[in-house]
């Protein structure tokens, strides 16, 4: 720490200050966490002490007079558990904060790597003190840490690219994971049979079990990674979708091989049952999720009087879907995704805007905390866990994982490309293969193994693979993406043009498919939409919104977003973003800032009255939602800004304008404004023109 502080004086003063702050924070929190975990392990030994201490008090009470009333007492036991949990979470978040303060670090190293590193440090410190560091408990992981991340991913899953690429995603998820599992398991077994490696004790089923655990791409790691590299939507959805859907395969394979490993032999009937089990697990999970999703949508229909608890319904129904699926050993992840996807369109039509924002931010917050905690615990568990290092096994695992992933992706893409309209290029295949990261799910599954003999060795190998993928692949994927010039994500929001034309093209393609007699993608999507509109929406969406076409709701959302942006920007001086898209030839010609301010002041003063008028006249108020009154007012402010912009545009490079304004009477101004207001927004201003500007 001292050297760090010393060398920082070479850098800029700000950086060194930040480092010192971070350093002190680190020390403080380490010490607190260390003492906290000391308490975890020393918990039992502390208990008798207070009891013993109280007895002398008691005895002294009876013999002496009344003891003094304790003004200040210390009772840590009472709050120990929540205190320690909060401390850990606080540590995690402070770390996250710290990374972003340090200027260059967050660009070079992805956050997940830093968090694991911090976990290693914390674990190391705890071990150095002599305590036993806490391990990532599987129950804690599967029941509390994983669901928020998956729900966040599922609820905000971009449906269109997902369904368009569903075939590809499924092939990668199912066939790819199976290939990985069997390839790795088989090759490991083959190597274990070789004399001299000291691995003779590992039988085929254990190898296959290990292969099943290590083969699945991890959604947490993928999310953490891909969020930072901003890759294009197609690749993102391919890798991410695969990581979500391969949960079913992993669950089935894991339980299958674990059962068989105990029994020792496999029959054909068992293999067949395994296949059936796969379908049951995945389809059952989806069904459970869909049922809860519909329940949640139905409930949200009636929440118009109790807006405050709306977000809770979303969270609870989803969590119940996850837990219910876990009860039956179905795929909890798929259930959660299905629930979120099912619920979302109807819930969003029913709930208020504030609830929508609440849901969005709570989900982001929880998933962020979970992710941070997972990575830190991963680091701590690495230091803590019993390790059994076997060079051959570990190195072979790492190599095999990489090789099998590459082979799998390339081979499957060759087959898939025959069926895809837009083929996957070699570069894209490489990124898909390289982005196959392993993470905490593999570790937790490995931790659940009951066979002690191999468990340590397996865990070591799993941790090494996780480290390799997260550190090496995670750190290098960003420069690789830049090097290969892979298309990046286009940042801008969806415009109304895109929405209209996309719907137009949908109808067009459906029509053409009907002409060809070809029942393809568009045909079924159209049928589903009709079914949705005719039956489902009536049941699940409250009031008039149930008959609202998608285009209209999209437009309303867009307007509301703009209106909110205007409010948040604080002043009417900032123009809405869509207007910024205009090319420079239309931008206001150069007038000085001072003159601009004067013009604005004048306009504001003259147009003040339009607000009252417009509110009663305008029929743009579609949703008479009493909770959202201020939105319409903001909409008018936006329109006023629009008008200001147009006035400024037409008041061209007239350098004497302001002088004229002040010297002459307002008549000229009025005439000019009146003339410039003959524009498409004319309907709105036709009314106000005569009355309001004239003062």
């Amino acid at each position: 720490m001292a050297e760090l502080l010393g060398s920082s004086s070479v850098r800029s003063g700000r950086a060194s200050f930040c480092l010192r702050v971070v350093g002190f924070v680190l020390l403080l929190v380490f010490a607190a966490a260390a003492s906290a975990s000391r308490d975890i392990s020393n918990g039992t030994s502390k208990e008798p002490n207070p009891a013993r201490e109280e007895d002398p008090h008691h005895r002294s009470n009876t013999t002496h007079h009344k003891k003094a009333f304790p003004v200040l007492s210390f009772n840590y036991e009472h709050v120990r558990t929540p205190f320690e949990i909060s401390l850990w979470i606080l540590l995690a978040l402070l770390m996250k904060l710290g990374f972003h303060i340090i200027p260059r670090l967050s660009h070079v190293v992805p956050e997940s790597c830093l968090l694991i590193f911090v976990g290693l440090l914390v674990g190391g410190i705890i071990k150095a003190i002599g305590e036993k560091p806490p391990i990532l408990d599987s129950t804690l992981f599967f029941l509390y840490l994983l669901p928020p991340i998956i729900l966040d991913a599922g609820y905000f899953l971009p449906i269109r690219p997902f369904t368009e690429n569903l075939g590809t995603i499924l092939v990668f998820a199912v066939v790819g994971t199976l290939w990985n599992a069997f390839f790795i398991g088989g090759m490991m077994y083959a190597v274990c049979q070789i004399e001299g490696t000291g691995l003779g004790g590992v039988d085929l089923l254990s190898c296959l079990l290990f292969g099943a655990i290590i083969s699945a791409v991890d959604p947490v790691a993928v999310l953490a990674m891909f969020e930072e590299i901003h890759i294009n939507e197609l690749l993102h959805i391919l890798v991410f979708g695969e990581s979500l859907l391969n949960d079913a395969v992993t669950v089935v394979l894991y339980h299958l091989f674990e059962e068989f490993a105990h029994i020792g032999t496999v029959t054909v009937a068992d293999a067949f049952l395994g296949v059936v089990c796969f379908f049951v697990v995945s389809l059952g999970g989806i069904l459970v999720g869909a049922i809860y999703g519909i329940l949640g949508a139905f409930t949200s229909r009636f929440t118009s009087h109790t807006r405050v608890i709306e977000p809770l319904f979303v969270f609870l129904y989803s969590y119940m879907a996850y837990l219910s699926a876990e009860v039956f050993h179905l795929s909890g992840i798929m259930s959660l995704i299905a629930c979120g996807v099912m619920m979302r369109p109807y819930v969003e039509a029913n709930i208020s805007h504030k609830s929508y924002t609440t849901i969005k931010y709570f989900l982001k917050m929880w998933s962020s905390v979970s992710e941070t905690l997972i990575f830190i615990f991963l680091g701590v568990s690495t230091v803590a866990g019993p390790h059994s290092w076997n060079w051959t096994f570990v190195v072979l695992t790492v190599i095999l994982c990489f090789v099998s992933r590459m082979l799998g992706v390339v081979g499957l893409t060759y087959i898939i490309n025959k069926f895809r309209i837009v083929k996957l290029t070699k570069k894209e295949q490489f990124i898909v293969a390289y982005g196959g990261l392993r993470g905490a799910i593999a570790f937790s599954l490995g931790f659940l193994l009951t066979n002690d003999k191999m468990k340590d060795m397996f865990l070591t190998a799993i941790i090494t693979v996780i480290f390799f993928t997260v550190f090496v692949q995670g750190m290098t994927i960003k420069p690789l993406v830049d090097l290969l010039a892979v298309k990046k994500k286009k940042e801008s929001k969806r415009s109304i043009n895109e929405e209209i034309h996309t719907q137009f093209l949908d109808h067009l393609l459906t029509g053409i498919e009907d002409v060809c007699g070809h029942y393809g993608h568009h045909h079924w999507k159209d049928k589903l939409n009709r079914f949705n509109k005719a039956y489902v929406k009536k049941w699940l969406i409250a009031g008039e919104r149930s008959t609202e076409p998608q285009l209209i709701s999209f437009y309303n959302k867009l307007e509301m977003k703009q209106a909110i942006m205007l409010v948040e920007s604080g002043s009417a001086a900032k123009l809405p973003s869509t207007l910024r898209k205009l090319p420079s030839c239309r931008i206001i010609p150069r007038i000085s800032k001072g003159r601009e301010e004067e013009i604005r002041k004048l306009l504001r003063a003259n147009l003040q009255k339009t607000r009252q008028r417009l509110r009663s006249y305008s029929r743009h108020d579609l949703m008479i939602d009493p909770f959202e009154d201020n939105m319409s007012e903001v909409r008018f402010r936006k329109q006023r800004v629009e008008m200001e912009r147009r006035v400024c545009f037409h008041l061209d490079s007239d350098s004497n304008f302001c002088e004229r304004m002040r010297c002459r009477n307002r008549v000229n101004f009025r005439i000019r404004v009146r003339n410039t207001l003959l524009i498409p927004e004319g309907k709105l201003f036709k009314f106000s023109r005569e009355e309001d500007i004239i003062r």
């Binding site: 837009v422 109304i496 029509g511």
Partner: protein, 195 residues
């Protein structure tokens, strides 16, 4: 083409269609059998009524416009060549086509031609601009009857405002292309014709 109402398609015709549209042999035969099944009058051409007999097309909001797109300017019948020519716009773009002879004319299923096809469906009066009224008509067809004119009007206004760059209050073809540059038109406007 002869006065017979034959159900046979001659090899030379298949070759010509293949060259013009890029469809494969099997695809052409398959689409030919579809053509003949639609052609109730058995005279080798399709009329508007033949198309209107397709049930799903009747409930499609853009049904009429799609049907019109098949018929060349001012005519009431379309033969198999014309049928294929229209459908060729929806063939997926293949990679090897990108390396073809640059002096050859652009294939029917290039991105620009696909977008031109869609543009022509908006622009009924063929003045190379989508005016506010044309846009309103399309919106009205897609959105149904429950929405007021004013609402649709404001949507149309906003749409034009977003896309319009030269200030003529309508969307020209280039502006149309620009607005859709983020949309994956190659995938959106392609049908995977079965082999």
């Amino acid at each position: 083409m002869g006065s017979r109402a034959s159900t046979l398609l001659r090899e030379e015709e298949i070759e010509e269609i293949k060259k013009e549209t890029g469809f494969s042999h099997s695809q052409i035969t398959r689409l030919y059998s579809r053509f003949t099944s639609l052609d109730k009058g058995e005279n080798g051409t399709l009329s508007r009524e033949d198309f209107q007999r397709i049930p799903e097309l009747a409930i499609n909001p853009l049904g009429d416009r799609i049907i019109n797109a098949f018929f060349p300017e001012g005519e009431d019948q379309v033969n198999f060549r014309g049928f294929m020519r229209t459908l060729a716009h929806f063939r997926p773009i293949e990679d090897n086509e990108k390396n073809k002879d640059p002096t050859a004319s652009e294939p029917l299923n290039s991105r620009t031609n696909k977008l031109l096809f869609a543009f022509r469906l908006y622009d009924l009066d063929r003045d190379d601009k989508i005016s506010r009224d044309e846009l309103l008509q399309v919106l009205r067809m897609m959105v149904g009857v429950n929405i007021s004119d004013e609402q649709l009007g404001s949507i149309a206004d906003r749409t034009i405002q977003e896309a319009d760059q030269n200030g003529d209050n309508s969307i020209s073809f280039n502006e149309f292309i620009k607005v859709l540059e983020k949309v994956d038109v190659e995938q959106k406007m392609s049908i995977r014709f079965l082999h």
